[in-house]
Subunit: 200 residues, 2 copies
């Protein structure tokens, strides 16, 4: 099993969120979806990769476009960024993970955000993605706007930080950290080696 | 042909510098070595990825260690970082590129820096790497410490910036930019598509 740590709001996480089901089917690897608040960690460590860095931001969109094409995805880029409601999107994701519908919600959120231009975490994306995952928006949003949901997201974020996570997406295989959609193959290789070979 | 833009002083560039000869032999792709001063660009855009970011720095060393193992390289990590003499190392590299011995010099510099712990750009690494490339250190260093060499490195750096380059290593295929050793395969695929298929 691989822990898939991600924040809705991260641009590169689009690639992983949208292809993980297929990777799972092809490799037999099970992924556990672990939402957290990457923005809180990045602000705390003063890691601001794109704002006020136009060359890096331009490259990021072009790189995502090329990588998406490799995976036969069809984003319309650039999409609204950064998200105004990142925290809310991820409070819902933490609830969804606990209740077992995180993947459907995250995929819906990213599809609407990256392919239809509707920011994740805000309406109409938010309620539509909750409904797509088979849930009632009113119930979920009441829960998501509570102090308890806030505390749960903060706790997940502390757990991510304790694992050395500083970006999204991150893959953790038995304590070994792989950062970035482009390290997913490495993470899978690591897991398979761990399962098959003697420890090195 | 792919332009290989790099700065001696970048950690991830170790992976590319050390494997490019083999990649060239396996793929038939020719690489043109284009040294520049990545530090000048990063300072100008306030892009300081590792200093004062211990979680990212720790990950970077571990990630390089794992990627190096994939390529059968044997670095001793962490190695002294950042380099005190980055500019000097790259002034020599610019001269070496003009005179046709850049790859041998860069490989020697990185091998001594990453595998023997001797900082690139400083003695004894500097003169040993120049000699390994078949050159007389006294002649090269006199040239490297001139205003002309300074101007040449600055001009190469301006050219890199104009291409949208903000990090090392970067690969440029007919104006298309790929950043990072982990994008080398994508760059090669891009070149082969360009050469074989109709433009899309």
């Amino acid at each position: 099993m691989i822990d898939f740590w991600f924040s809705i709001g991260s641009t590169y996480s689009y690639l992983s969120v949208m292809r993980l089901a297929e990777v799972e089917a092809q490799t037999g690897v099970h992924f556990r979806w672990r939402p957290f608040n990457v923005r809180a960690i990045m602000i705390e460590m003063d890691n601001i990769p794109f704002a006020k860095k136009p060359a890096k931001a331009a490259y990021m969109w072009r790189d995502i476009e090329r990588r998406a094409a490799m995976y036969k995805m069809v984003p319309k880029l650039p999409t609204p960024y950064p998200l105004a409601e990142l925290e809310r999107a991820n409070r819902v994701a933490v609830i969804a993970a606990a209740e077992g519908w995180c993947e459907a919600y995250a995929r819906g959120s990213y599809r609407r955000w990256f392919e239809q231009g509707e920011p994740a975490g805000s309406e109409p994306n938010l309620s539509a993605s909750i409904e797509e995952a088979g849930q009632q928006p009113r119930r979920v949003l009441r829960k998501a706007d509570s102090d308890a949901a806030n505390a749960d997201l903060a706790a997940a974020t502390e757990q991510a930080k304790a694992l050395g996570i500083f970006g999204s997406p991150s893959f953790v295989v038995d304590g070994e950290l792989f950062w970035g959609d482009d390290r997913l193959d490495d993470a899978i290789r690591w897991l398979k080696q761990m399962e098959s070979g003697p420890p090195d």
